[in-house]
C-alpha cells in the first residue's frame, strides 16, 4: 500500500516539477530578451537539448540554442510568453516525460508589435532532477499586431530564417 501511495505522490511531484521547469525556461527566455537577465540557467537543460520550430529553425545542443537566443534578442526587444498547460505525461519508469502547453506571446520585432500563438510539445528527462530535453514549437498565429490574423495567420513578410541561419 505504501508503495502505491509513493508512486502516486511521485507522479504529482514530477508533474509539478516539470511545470515549474517549463515556467522557468520561458521566464529565462523572456528575461534575456527583455534585458533583465544576463544568461540562461544551463542546469535546466540536458547537454544535447534540442529546440525546434518550422518558422524559427532547428537548434541542436545547448550552445546552439544559446546562439539562437542571442540572435533572437538582437531583433526582438520584448517578449512575454503566457502559457496554458495542456497536460504532462510521465513514463512508467519516471525516466522521461512529455508535456504540452498553449502559448500566447506578444513580442516586439524590430520595433513593431507582433503576436505569436501556438503550442509547445516538449520532452523531459530525469537525471538528478528533471531537465528539458527538447522543445518543439508549433505556430498557429505569427503576425504584426496591427495587421492581425483575420486574413492570414502566418504573415507573408515573416523571414526569420534568412536573417538568422
Amino acid at each position: 500500500m505504501t508503495d502505491q501511495f509513493d508512486a502516486r505522490i511521485s507522479a504529482l511531484e514530477d508533474a509539478y516539477a516539470i511545470e515549474k521547469l517549463m515556467n522557468l525556461h520561458v521566464r529565462y527566455f523572456d528575461s534575456l530578451v527583455n534585458g533583465s537577465a544576463d544568461g540562461l540557467d544551463r542546469s535546466l537543460y540536458v547537454g544535447e537539448f534540442h529546440w525546434n520550430c518550422k518558422l524559427f529553425g532547428s537548434h541542436d545542443g545547448f550552445d546552439a540554442y544559446s546562439r539562437f537566443l542571442e540572435a533572437y534578442s538582437r531583433r526582438v526587444s520584448f517578449s512575454l510568453q503566457l502559457l496554458a498547460p495542456l497536460g504532462i505525461d510521465i513514463d512508467v519508469a519516471r525516466a522521461g516525460a512529455t508535456g504540452r502547453w498553449g502559448v500566447w506571446q506578444p513580442f516586439t520585432l524590430e520595433g513593431e508589435p507582433w503576436v505569436l500563438a501556438g503550442q509547445y510539445a516538449n520532452s523531459f528527462v530525469r537525471e538528478d532532477s528533471w531537465r528539458l530535453a527538447s522543445v518543439d514549437l508549433h505556430v498557429d498565429i505569427l503576425t504584426p499586431w496591427s495587421v492581425g490574423w483575420g486574413d492570414e495567420r502566418i504573415h507573408r513578410k515573416w523571414r526569420w530564417l534568412s536573417h538568422c541561419t
Binding site: 501511495f5 502516486r8 505522490i9 507522479a11 504529482l12 508533474a15 503566457l82 496554458a84 498547460p85 495542456l86 497536460g87 498553449g102 500566447w104 503576436v115 500563438a117 498557429d140 498565429i141 499586431w145 496591427s146 495587421v147 492581425g148 490574423w149 483575420g150 486574413d151 495567420r153
Partner: protein
Amino acid sequence: MSKLSDRITRLEDINNIRRRVGDFGEACDRGPYDADELSEYWLSDASFHSDPFHYDGLSEIRQFFQGLAADFTKHYFLNPIIHVDESGSTATAQWYGWESPAIAGKSLVGAFDHTLRCEKRQGDWLWGKWIQTIQFLSPACAGWSGENRLIEQHKPSACTEEGPQDD
C-alpha cells in the same frame, strides 16, 4: 484529516480537471467548434449560460456550438481555481479564458470568466453547468474600449435571447 488515499485522489482529480479543460479548449479549436466532439464533454442534462443566452440540455448546447461563426479560434484557459468536493465525485472550477478568434476576416481578442460545475462519471470529468461571462470580445487591432467591447459572435438567426431556435 482525510485518509491519505483520499487526499492523493483529490490532487489527482484536480490535475485531471485541469487537463480535461485544456483538452476541451483544443477540441474547440478543431473545426473550430466541432459539435460532435464537444458534446462528449457534457452531461446529457448539462446547462450552459453566457449572458444573455441560456442553453439547457445537450441538444441546445450542440446547437449553440453549431451556431458559432468563427472560422479560426485559439482558446487558452488560465488561472485555474479548482475545488473537489468531499464526495470526490463533484467539483467546481473557475478559469480566466483568453481567446484569439478570427470571425469574418476580423482578428478578435476575447477575455472571459468561466465557472464550471462538473461531475466524475466512470473516471471522466464531465461538464454539468458552465457559466461564462464575456469580459470583452473585441477587434484586436482597435482595442476593447467603447463600441468595440463586445462583437457579435453568433451567426445571424442562430439564437434568440431565450435560446436556439428550433429551425
